[in-house]
């Protein structure tokens, strides 16, 4: 019994000492989103570094408000939603966005293949808002599409199509994307347009 107690004391001491040492709370972002938040396809966590701060902030707000990631079938969104809510409740949302902005962004690996010629045609519908080179347009609140996790862009297009994203009335930009995504006929069309986006610099 005494030995057990001693062991427990050791464990508690370890826990106490290390909880007291406040590390950087945003290191948790890198746990899922990878080194320099360059994304981790293994757990479906997209690249965040290089993404426009205003876009990240808006998505965190949407997650926190339940306007995104609240539907039962959106497993990845469900993992993000409570994190965003805590950041918001603890007044750390802006600091989180700033932290992501401080990271060194690397070019993500392409993971998807498609017909880039076909994708180029389909991309014409995207270019008006997201720019001919996928560079984004802050005035229109349209994020850049080049140098993002390609599998993530594909997932989001599918989510828009199926209503897992953008169906909430508070997400007006999402509603716009829903109507555009609806014009992509099938998974092949999505793969083609993503393959073309992968060629943009």
């Amino acid at each position: 019994m005494r030995r057990l107690f001693a062991a427990l004391v050791v464990i508690f001491a370890l826990v106490m000492v290390d909880s007291a040492k406040a590390g950087n709370p945003f290191d948790y972002c890198l746990l899922c989103h990878g080194s320099n938040a360059n994304g981790n396809v293994g757990i479906r966590a997209p690249k965040l570094s290089g993404v426009e701060p205003w876009y990240i902030a808006r998505q965190l707000e949407n997650f926190a408000a339940g306007a995104r990631g609240a539907l039962a079938d959106d497993a990845a969104g469900h993992e993000m939603a409570p994190v965003a809510l805590r950041l918001k409740q603890e007044g750390m949302l802006d600091a989180a966005v700033k932290f992501i902005g401080s990271l060194e962004s690397g070019r993500p690996h392409a993971t998807m293949q498609g017909d880039t010629a076909q994708g180029k045609k389909l991309y014409e519908a995207c270019a008006a808002c997201h720019g001919a080179r996928g560079e984004g347009n802050a005035a229109l609140q349209s994020p850049a599409l080049a140098a993002r996790s390609d599998w993530y862009l594909a997932t989001q297009l599918t989510n828009y199509k199926t209503g897992l994203r953008g169906a909430d009335e508070r997400d007006s930009y999402g509603a716009q994307m829903r109507s555009i995504a609806a014009t992509l006929a099938d998974d092949q069309a999505i793969a083609d347009v993503i393959a073309y986006i992968n060629t943009l610099k």
């Binding site: 464990i11 746990l31 981790n40």
Partner: protein
């Protein structure tokens, strides 16, 4: 809402990943393997003097490696991303912190040595000789763990209108009916294979004992299923056998032999005071080598040695070593910057991550003991799947019950999506189908969704046969001086014994290299 259960699920549930077990059994059959389990503990023969090994992750495989290497003179440094050591070997008790992404929790159990909950591994079978060997060496006190209890309940909405029945009734009445059916239908003239007509009588006699049939080979009930009452001043009254067609409606038949499987059969053990006493035992030896809250960001395999960059308190730090033993879960490693060849690193995302989920409830009264249940598991085909009763602290006032342990990824995700309070509500509603007064006994709970736990984000790697064939050897082999370890690179994922085996495998390889001349010293 009924979930169907496949044979595949069952095999996974039973902790027996089909292929490897099948191979093992076949090997036993042709006499390739020693029948008694033998420790794989490596005898490191080369001196580790002036060699540095960096270990990424202080789970069981990392701690095993640190312990063995430091015993043999290697310089050892362990980087652990979490605030605690142990990996999935995690016990919570009064004041523990549950570091879940999005839903961090505190454990509010009373401060009492019997009130703890094993969130990860919770039982040790007698043939896990490596783990048991370390328990002995590290003076981790063990006690019996009750895994299988015939007095516990079986509940399925599909049978008997959802009313729970005792496990002994399900098991023995089913057996009785099957034995009767076989005894009546098996014909002397159709016996084939190793059986001959001469065996007919002996086979029928076997069936009589197997199912406890009457002289006419009819099943009329058995005391194995329990007596109608236990008034020993009055004559015994057998319970009437349950309806076979009701019994067959339940898919419980897929798990009724859970307690017979290689890793789940009696006698099993647990450390006194919680499974993390194993971690505490290792930490007493190598705790000074473990650096917590150090999250790896970059791994570069060099022509000689390995360079690793990690973050600690928001700063980047870089270190080099002759060897790296890495038990970071592969699905997390996939997001870490590295220079591994693609044919190796593509494997990191090829093996799906497990999504097991557990709930622990502190009960204000050990009500199950009034039902004759002392330890063991009640099974239900609802989402919660199991209720475990503690075999320690018997007849004390309170106890910690396992209120949910899901094996299917769908059930795990369903619970994980909910905030903890909602998880508890769901688990209590389902538990009430087994114990009607369940809710009123619950004082406080903890929940652990392994695929949302920080620094793990998954449970055991979900290896299956085609994946083993395609990836296992590649991932088990070193890249330069970098070795993947952990239960994730063992043929026994989800068990500490598998984690230890992976560590021993890597250590034996390092030892062979050192004996052959070793690598150059590269650490800075």
């Amino acid at each position: 809402m009924k979930r169907t259960l496949s044979r595949r699920d069952f095999l996974n549930w039973a902790g027996a990943v089909g292929g490897s077990t099948a191979v093992y059994r076949a090997a036993m059959g042709i006499g390739l393997m020693p029948v008694a389990a033998r420790a794989t503990q490596p005898l490191l023969t080369a001196s580790g003097k002036s060699k540095k090994v960096l270990i990424l992750g202080a789970g069981i495989s990392g701690l095993t490696s640190a312990y063995e290497l430091s015993k043999h003179g290697y310089e050892v440094q362990v980087l652990e991303a979490s605030f605690r050591a142990g990996g999935r070997n995690m016990t919570v008790r009064h004041g523990s912190r549950i570091d879940e992404t999005g839903y961090p929790q505190a454990c509010n159990f009373d401060d009492d040595p019997d009130l703890y909950f094993n969130c990860g591994p919770a039982r040790i079978p007698g043939h896990h000789v490596n783990l048991l060997g370390y328990c002995k060496e590290l003076e981790v006190e063990l006690e019996p763990f009750v895994n299988d209890n015939r007095n516990a309940w079986v509940q399925d909405d599909a049978m008997f209108g959802g009313k729970p029945i005792r496990a002994r009734e399900y098991l023995n009445d089913t057996r009785g009916f099957v034995a009767e059916l076989m005894a009546k239908t098996i014909r002397k003239d159709t016996l084939t294979g190793p059986m001959t007509a001469d065996d007919w009588d002996r086979l029928r006699e076997y069936l009589r004992y197997f199912g406890e049939l009457d002289p006419q080979f009819k099943y009329i009930g058995t005391s194995r299923s329990g007596l109608a009452m236990h008034d020993y001043a009055a004559p015994e009254v057998l319970k009437a056998p349950l309806s076979p067609s009701e019994l067959l409606k339940s898919k419980f038949m897929l798990i009724m032999s859970f307690g017979e499987t290689d890793d789940q059969a009696a006698m099993m053990m647990e450390p006194v005071g919680g499974m993390d006493q194993v971690v505490a035992g290792f930490m007493r030896k190598v705790g000074h080598l473990v650096q917590l809250e150090s999250q790896v960001q970059r791994i570069q395999v060099l022509p000689r040695g390995v360079e690793v960059t990690y973050r600690r308190s928001g700063e980047y730090l870089t270190t080099r070593a002759d060897y790296v033993l890495n038990c970071i879960p592969m699905h997390l490693l996939a997001g870490i910057e590295h220079n591994f060849p693609a044919e190796y690193s593509s494997g990191f995302t090829a093996i799906p991550r497990g999504k097991l989920f557990k709930i622990g409830f502190q009960m204000k009264e050990r009500f199950w003991e009034r039902e004759g249940i002392y330890g063991g598991i009640s099974w239900t085909l609802q989402d919660i799947q199991q209720i475990w009763y503690p075999a320690h602290g018997i007849h004390r006032k309170k106890g910690v019950v396992l209120g949910a342990y899901t094996f299917s990824p769908e059930a795990g995700e369903k619970f994980a999506r909910l905030p903890p309070a909602e998880r508890f509500k769901l688990a209590i509603a389902q538990g009430a189908k087994i114990h009607p007064d369940y809710a009123k006994h619950v004082e406080t709970g903890v929940s652990v969704a392994w695929h949302q736990m920080n620094h793990m984000l998954g449970c055991a790697a979900q290896w299956e046969e085609p994946l083993f064939k395609q990836w296992f050897k590649t991932l088990q082999a070193p890249v330069g001086s970098h070795y993947l370890i952990g239960d994730q690179v063992s043929y026994h994922p989800g068990w500490q014994e598998g984690a230890i085996a992976s560590a021993h495998h890597a250590l034996a390889d390092i030892d062979a290299r050192e004996r052959a001349g070793g690598t150059q010293v590269v650490h800075s």
